[in-house]
Subunit: 349 residues, 2 copies
Amino acid sequence: MFVKTTDIDRLSARLGADRVLAPAGALPQPADRLDAGGPLRPAEFEVAVQRLCLDATSFQNIRAGAGADPARMAERIAAIVGARGKMHNPETGSGGVLLGRVAAVGDAFADGPAVGDRIVTLASLTMTPLRLEAVTRVDPDSAQVEVAGTAYVCDSAPWGRVPGDLPGDLALEVYDVYGAASHTRALARPGDTVAVLGTGHAGKLALAAAREALGDGGTLIAVDRDPAAVQRMRALGLCDLAVAADLRDPLGAVAAVSAAGGEAADLTIVVVSATGCETGAILLTREGGTILFFSMATDFTTAALSADGMSHDVRMLIGSGYTPDTGSYALDLVRRSEPLRRALTGAGA
Amino acid sequence: MFVKTTDIDRLSARLGADRVLAPAGALPQPADRLDAGGPLRPAEFEVAVQRLCLDATSFQNIRAGAGADPARMAERIAAIVGARGKMHNPETGSGGVLLGRVAAVGDAFADGPAVGDRIVTLASLTMTPLRLEAVTRVDPDSAQVEVAGTAYVCDSAPWGRVPGDLPGDLALEVYDVYGAASHTRALARPGDTVAVLGTGHAGKLALAAAREALGDGGTLIAVDRDPAAVQRMRALGLCDLAVAADLRDPLGAVAAVSAAGGEAADLTIVVVSATGCETGAILLTREGGTILFFSMATDFTTAALSADGMSHDVRMLIGSGYTPDTGSYALDLVRRSEPLRRALTGAGA
């Protein structure tokens, strides 16, 4: 990581900082605007973009703001990308990932993909230079948006090949949230009580990963405000206890988990798309336990100050979307677990 | 922690949830408004408030918004407390702590303080019901604000006695950020390279705690944008390397630490009061290292997505202000370390 002062320009290019238009000195993720114009630069590869997979928080925000109207959703997406040079929702701060075909690879890439490879970017869309020619299809019930456009992936940004043995949609959904599986697997210990808050794609992966980590013992609690969603997790065998509760009513959530026979969790995985769930997550976790906040709807100060004010000693982790396996664990989990595949694809239990 | 459903009302009172006016079901920290009116309730004690110690981020915000004018700063503080029933800065989301004398103790308190005790609340002001009769003194260069008012401290909220052997101002400053010392002590390992970003009160405590944890080995790097501030840390022996750098220019900060002979840190403690420092903190930390974000200016999504997009595998912790020692380690550190006392009180090196 550490570099001679003379290598700062090379590090800057590897990180894509040479594409930041504003503010000066920022790196691409927090930047306001990126230059998404050609030509390709040496430490990048170019992608002919076919699809965006918006993160759940951004998707819900865009859907709500457009009254679930596909044309207005498409306009909003085009407007954000046009203004910022990246699909970085200014209201949620979040992005997603994209799928496309590699069109060209820069000279400075050693281990890059080959031209023609079908790839998924694993860096957030909030840092990926992107220009769109068209938003070709929006389904208001899906975070996957078909587009025609061009993206540039810098040398330091993670990416993955679309596997030949899994449907493209499924692979994209898994790649978007693969870190939930890898982190959960690393954090859960045999015998633990693990609570997974939220049963979207990331929640399903976390449940399956926790099940592998717990082995035959332990207790796996799924919490979601949608009773049908948690019952489905239970029917598929992805959890031991299914609890319908809204975490924005933290005492109600504690009462519901207690009533279902659940204990305070050793490990809580927060993968909700709603805001205001930090306090509930803390109350559901035992003293000395660990909380992984993997939701982009997490508010830092609320989490820090709530634990503080309740005298509740929990280890709280910010869940990065990156883990060194870059998605291979999550994809293998999907291959291994028929219940998980069913849960992710909506097939009958 | 876990409770029978019938005990939820008791838990609610212990957490101070019965004082939440809006929104319904919220706990005090994230709530919009609290009821700060009398009388005292059974699971609380009442404090005759003498002083607020605003957290650094909120103080800088109020100072900047009022053009450093004491009267306008006082008006802003009174307005926030009047509107919310707590000193919860709506622009920064942060609070601070308060100092006062215990006026009454509720019947349901087992291990409460005694009437007349001089105490500091250790729960954030963002969750402490507070009404102010007057803001009696504001110094635009100090986060300590003299007031007359009344606060109610619920059973679950941590608090500490003002020690007889340390000046009140100093004890209050230490109590406000004591977690920086306790967390750093727990996270640093002998031989580590530890980077402390920011040299305010929390930074000074973190440096002294890291020095104790590192023993004779390891390297302690202090980074601040103010060259005089880091040089003073060096002169007091509180760090090995003093680096003046603005973390909002992350590549510049990497270059500055490298030029000073520093390595990527095993442990990075983020105690800056400025926003936009997440990426710099990540780049200054080695692959596999740990970052403790203790600054209330931290943005969750920026931290998560930056680490993600740079393929940088770091463990990122949300630093709660609470640790089970409730400040005793930090106070002992101040008693033990003359350089730390000098640093905190501004006495000559």
